[in-house]
Symmetry: C2
Subunit: 393 residues, 2 copies
Amino acid sequence: MTTTILGTTPSSARDRREGLGPNCDLIGRPNGRRLLNTPALILDLDALNHNIGMMAAFGRKSGIALRPHAKTHKSAHIGALQRKAGAVGLCCAKLGEAEALAHEDAGPLLITSPVVGPSALARLAALCDRAETSVVVDNVENVHALAAALEGRSITVFIDLDPGLHRTGASGPATAVELARTIHAQKNLRFGGLQFFSGPTQHIEDYEARYRDVERRTANLVAVAEALRSAGFPPAVITGGGTGTHEIDARLGVMTELQVGSYVFMDDQYSACALYPATANPFRTSLTIDTRVISANWPGLVTVDAGFKASTGSLLPPRIVSGAPESAVYEYRGDEHGAIILPEGARAPRLGEVVGLKTPHCDPTVNLYDFYHVVRGDDLFDIWPVTARGRSS
Amino acid sequence: MTTTILGTTPSSARDRREGLGPNCDLIGRPNGRRLLNTPALILDLDALNHNIGMMAAFGRKSGIALRPHAKTHKSAHIGALQRKAGAVGLCCAKLGEAEALAHEDAGPLLITSPVVGPSALARLAALCDRAETSVVVDNVENVHALAAALEGRSITVFIDLDPGLHRTGASGPATAVELARTIHAQKNLRFGGLQFFSGPTQHIEDYEARYRDVERRTANLVAVAEALRSAGFPPAVITGGGTGTHEIDARLGVMTELQVGSYVFMDDQYSACALYPATANPFRTSLTIDTRVISANWPGLVTVDAGFKASTGSLLPPRIVSGAPESAVYEYRGDEHGAIILPEGARAPRLGEVVGLKTPHCDPTVNLYDFYHVVRGDDLFDIWPVTARGRSS
């Protein structure tokens, strides 16, 4: 199996002056990773490129477009690599995320949650001057407010469809048709199609169980798409899905583009999912956390410098991937610390040694950090900002 | 009961140019809070000042010094208010937190976790040139490495004592005396005293149960202090405790200064604790999250724009404090969203309306945000950066 290795150039002196954090002098230094202050977010460049290449190949083979979700990485740099590999644009969860990425020329951006309220809509209108922006709606009142806020600009609008979670989205065919009619009645809104995303489905570990869940939910999507066609509003694009369902979504053939996100990193929750029916997951773990032993005064455990402020996203603790025996486990010890619990008789990591952790859920963990430390083995290749970190609004 | 209202001046035009985020034009605008993009971290200025004044008064009355912990707020601005009210300095959980605060002239800083490894120690040495820095140790090897890294500088060192958690800290009298002897043998290290902090104790809700827990653990502290005095190393300062134990620590009379943190905000976990034996908690909730209804398509619930990326720190959900009926509850709906679940027959907040949330645990929640939006009612008084956000290393 071949993978595309995407070119990427280390940060320039100018970038460094503009602030890549306290570790920027280590860029390019052999074994520089070992000198990083910890906890540090680590990105394996070769695994990242492998993952981007594998998903791009999947999209080409399946004839389905990719619009990767930037809520996972929040990085202009990773987004650029995805677009270079053929992605048609990026998704953003929130307006603020899109604003931050637009500032870095991240190409076409689809905001996948409704943008609500006068000040947010005014900012969305201003964003349209800087980036090719599209947005989802699930409410007629919001469609009117959006059209009024644009002040002469125009925008592409997708109808968000509830996959059965009652989180966001139109409830079914009747409300979707009413939304499409309302969108069509506004001179400055273009109807782009449908969005459909079921978060919990992504994490069903068993392939067959996940397939049945997607199939069941997709029946509603098909009904809505047919109702829209009958009403004269054919959805040109059906966008959605994620890393957990991409193979199933492509197989069912209803979606025209995939909003895959976590495949770039492959966190522990996704690694536990059988993504393909017959073959092993083609994606590698590229994202880890380096944490250091800062106290070692008791038998059977050592304390490291990564706690809830360094890894988050579920009750599950991170998994140890390097620096300690395979059967050792990590336990949270508050906001600032964690414990490495050692099996009977195992050699404990020593004071100052580094332990590598694989995070259970990448998206909210990345959101804790200002920088990716991009490595090849122990060499620090580059530091990339988490461009839209904290932009959840 | 009187409280000290501390003066604070809104950010200057220069501060604004240097980037206070997308909401900076709203500073000083009446009802500006209502125009904030959400989710937004909200800080009630009067409640903050009340809390700072109340704790300062407690310290004076009890004859105990305050060295408030900046891991809670990570803010140079709030730290300055605490120092103006009489605090002897600030605590920092990590080297990176101290570096960021030193950059803003935050006064004397005590790093309350061991600083381990050659690159971290080199940075600690450099920090000593910029700020009056002290640090804790719990390991003889680390004492030697610290002394060697300082290169002619000198630093005050506290012995961190394990309160029985096996997280960090010397295990008891013998190891503490060995550490004190090692510190004394280094020309450039000054022995400052002891640090003693039991995190889980802080959150025991019942006063009597918490009192017994503190009393039991403090017996070990007393034994170590006596052993140090007998060995000729009297601990001049005994620093530690927190918001949950400050009244008990002062009453037991062993500590000479308190590392109180969360009292400035009073999150939901601390609000549940009876901090004083006979009187009500004197502190008010100053920290909340404003979140907005972005979807309202189903009876009995609405979806808001605050999820795991906007509030974190425990399995407990945030508590609703405004904008929805008192009996409504918040439930997480993933990284980006939450649900407001309404009681039977209650009026639901409408699309675009704001719901106020009180976070279960302030420290890691603050760490998600770049800015405090400092309010008086609905007026946006100022925006303060979360100076050391993300500096967990």
